[in-house]
């Protein structure tokens, strides 16, 4: 018998929020994760955070998630292109 506290202790606050948004709003996990990612980038830009510090840590996580949810593969591809643009902006040989 699974009770609500077992589920909460195993998923945590973020798991509950992501699950709720998926079930009641977006309908698919990758759409929820994309929206959260957009919000994260927006908040980071408010605080003038360098984009590379957000993009680079997300790539291995999204690679793992994309094996479960193939809808995230396009996000990984777009993030890789964005990473290419950021590296182009930083590196000195342009």
């Amino acid at each position: 018998m699974i009770d609500v506290w077992t589920v909460f202790n195993q998923t945590g606050s973020f798991g509950i929020i992501i699950d709720s948004l998926t079930q009641h709003w977006t309908g698919s996990l990758h759409t929820t994760l994309i929206i959260i990612l957009m919000c994260l980038l927006l908040v980071a830009s408010f605080f003038h955070m360098p984009e590379i510090l957000i993009i680079v840590p997300l790539i291995p996580v999204l690679l793992i998630f994309s094996t479960i949810d193939p809808g995230l593969q396009i996000v990984v591809a777009l993030l890789s292109l964005f990473l290419g643009y950021i590296l182009y902006s930083i590196l000195p040989f342009r």
Binding site: F8, N9, Q10, G12, S13, H48, M49, P50, I52, L53, V56, P57, I59, P60, L63, I64, S66, T67, V76, S80, L81, L83, G84, Y85, L87, Y88, S89, I90, R94
Partner: protein
Amino acid sequence: MGNSTSMVIFMSAFSLMAILMTLSIQSIDPCSSSLLSNALANSTVISQLNSDSSTCPYNSLSFNNNMYNQANIQRGSTGNMGIGATILSIFPDWLYTGFNWITHSGIFIINIIGAPYTIAVSLFPVQYTSFASAIGAFGSILFLWFLVNWFTGKDN
């Protein structure tokens, strides 16, 4: 910012590098532990690291090292778990039942500093761990530098 032609060339080259790396690694070693090549090739290796039924061909590079001995690997082993297990053990479940800024700021910063190392180690097969560690350590120091510059308001 330079002209847009060289930017497009750089971004294309960046993507082509990943594709070429995937094709070359997968052709030489279909059982490679390289994370990026496994993900791009839609390989089953990445999701079946501990399974007995493997589609990896006999006599390929990583077969004898990683796949053939899988039956002897203990299920649920705590070995080779690294920093993830350490962080989970010092931050138990009940700590997550509420949101506190100290814990989550720490996780945020640990993730940012650790990411280049994780990526570098994941990009290369397991035989090149020392080479990947050197690159990853450099990336982590570089990110620490970016972080400190951001905290001190220098903005890159």
